[in-house]
Amino acid sequence: MKKIKVTMYFPSNKITAPVTYHLIKDYNLMLNILNADVSLNKIGTLVVDIEGEEKDIEAGLEFVKSQGADYKVFSKSIIWQEESCVHCGACTAVCPSGALTMDKTDWNLTFDKEKCLVCELCVKACPLKVMCVRNGDKA
């Protein structure tokens, strides 16, 4: 089993097939939608975790392309240098996915990598520069 994070792009008016349905049913993939941005006459984006057998993932992504959509596998990740963090919470102001949150009992910052969209807003927002981008998917 393998798990990857992918952004899919859907050009407006072009996609007619229920792509996620087919990925799940025909390719036996587990999809976890992390973010969806769909508006009229705009390229729609879908950020998903895809989990399944490697060959199924490959075939599934081929199917996405065949439908006129495009995709990009996440190659970067956000690294939280916790030992230098003061847990001020400034990064939580900009995190769109709830990956960065404050624990309301001990006021620790918590970082849920699974939810991270690697939008990099926290990298800019952190006053202590303890959030950084790492190339490659490994932590």
């Binding site: 001020c88 919470g89 400034a90 939580t92 102001a93 404050m102 006021w107 927002a125 006053p127 202590l128």
Partner: protein, 389 residues
């Protein structure tokens, strides 16, 4: 009404009998036992805050070189320091930016590096005088080879501050953090019920000369802070409803700890410094006990629209810190996320550390030499064509 004196409390601290609690613990004690009993039992309440405080800096005396120099311009790691004070004294301000690295490094970083014991490059120029012939110097200093290095912060520990949002269509990068367009977030900066001046709203025990915990060591309240605004509107509990009192603080940089002083950069705004401050409040009487039991739900501020850059910024909502700290606020029927900029975790660490120092008999309380003013308002800077020369 029972009454304790500063001396009585210090005597208890000396003999290890003082009852010391944090401002958060005090809330529960008052809730459980009532104000009268709490005032009798508790001797000192400790507070804490750890937020970005721009109005900070340090005086340094470098010592004299041979031959000596009357430094007229000084750079520390390429950050300009103010040298218009005697021959080898300078003031490094926290928000000053590096001339070579811009916003990524500034005065606050120089201060943090000095506290950490690192070598800092000193470059100074002079026009040369008969008594100070040297015209240039380039060397390295650290906290062990300079004379005095004391932090002197003109405005710290703001008693309340507005929360920020942005109604415009564009993202804003401010000293209140990144403000998303269309009021998609709110930021605030406080330690709320743990904050020093919110626990002594009318400055009954915090005054000039008060010994405090500052940056990991003992410091003092030197004066009222700049922009001290005690006449701000207050609630029935005496707590100001917007930014009010401030403190000017002084402390020995050499004894500080980078756990409690941290340089910071706010995107596109610049450099600032997180300053850790804790102030002990002696429980002299019931009124003081009651004030130290203040809760986040009883402390209010305004959410202000930072997209308005001219004239007074419109108030979007009056809000309690309880609501802000819940993680979201209701703004005109829309639930939007609220995020802190001041570390509650560190504020607690400071209040707890100060409590332990007092209980160990290593930190004594001080009676102010003089009270902070209760009357004073803040002037605006007028743009005038002529002076009265």
């Amino acid at each position: 009404m029972s009454y304790k004196s500063f001396d009585e409390i210090n005597e208890k601290i000396k003999t290890g009998k003082a009852v010391v609690v944090t401002a958060e613990q005090m809330i529960d004690i008052v809730e459980e036992k009532g104000i009268r009993q709490a005032a009798k039992e508790v001797d000192v309440v400790t507070t804490g805050t750890f937020g970005p405080m721009c109005s900070s800096g340090a005086f340094i005396n470098f010592g004299h070189s041979d031959p000596p120099i009357r430094m007229s311009k000084v750079w520390l790691n390429d950050v300009p320091a103010y040298a218009g004070v005697a021959a080898v004294d300078a003031y490094i301000g926290a928000t000053e930016l590096s001339e070579s690295r811009g916003m990524e490094y500034g005065g606050a970083h120089v201060i943090e590096d000095l506290i950490a014991g690192k070598d800092v490059h000193l470059y100074a120029e002079s026009y040369g005088t008969h008594c100070y012939p040297r015209k240039e110097i380039s060397t390295y200093i650290n906290k062990n080879n300079i004379n005095q290095a004391f932090m002197f912060n003109p405005r710290n520990a703001y008693q309340n501050y507005n929360a920020a949002s942005n109604s415009s269509e564009k993202i804003m990068y401010t000293y209140m953090g990144t403000l998303l367009p269309k009021c998609a977030n709110v930021t605030y900066s406080t330690s709320g019920q743990l904050s020093p001046l919110l626990n002594d709203p009318l400055y009954r025990t915090i005054g000039i000369g008060t010994r405090i915990f500052m940056g990991g060591t003992q410091g003092y309240v030197a004066w009222e802070g700049t922009q001290h605004n005690p006449e701000q509107k207050r609630g029935e509990n005496g707590v100001p409803l917007a930014s009010a009192g401030t403190l000017s603080l002084i402390g020995d940089l050499k004894k500080m700890d980078t756990r409690f002083i941290r340089a910071a950069v706010f995107q596109q705004y610049g450099v600032t410094m997180f300053v850790g401050v804790g102030i002990p409040i002696p429980i002299l009487d019931e009124d003081i006990a009651e004030k130290t039991a203040v809760r986040n739900r009883d402390i209010y501020t305004n959410i202000v629209d930072y997209s308005v850059s001219s004239g007074p910024k419109p108030v979007l909502k009056k809000v309690s810190y309880e609501e802000l700290m819940s993680g979201s606020v209701d703004l005109n029927g829309k639930i939007i996320p609220s995020a802190p900029l001041s570390s509650m975790k560190k504020a607690r660490e400071i209040a707890v550390t100060l409590r332990e120092l007092i209980m160990a008999g290593e930190f004594f309380i001080t009676q102010p030499i003089s009270s902070l003013p209760l009357t004073n308002t803040v002037n605006k800077l007028e743009i005038r064509e002529d002076g009265n020369r």
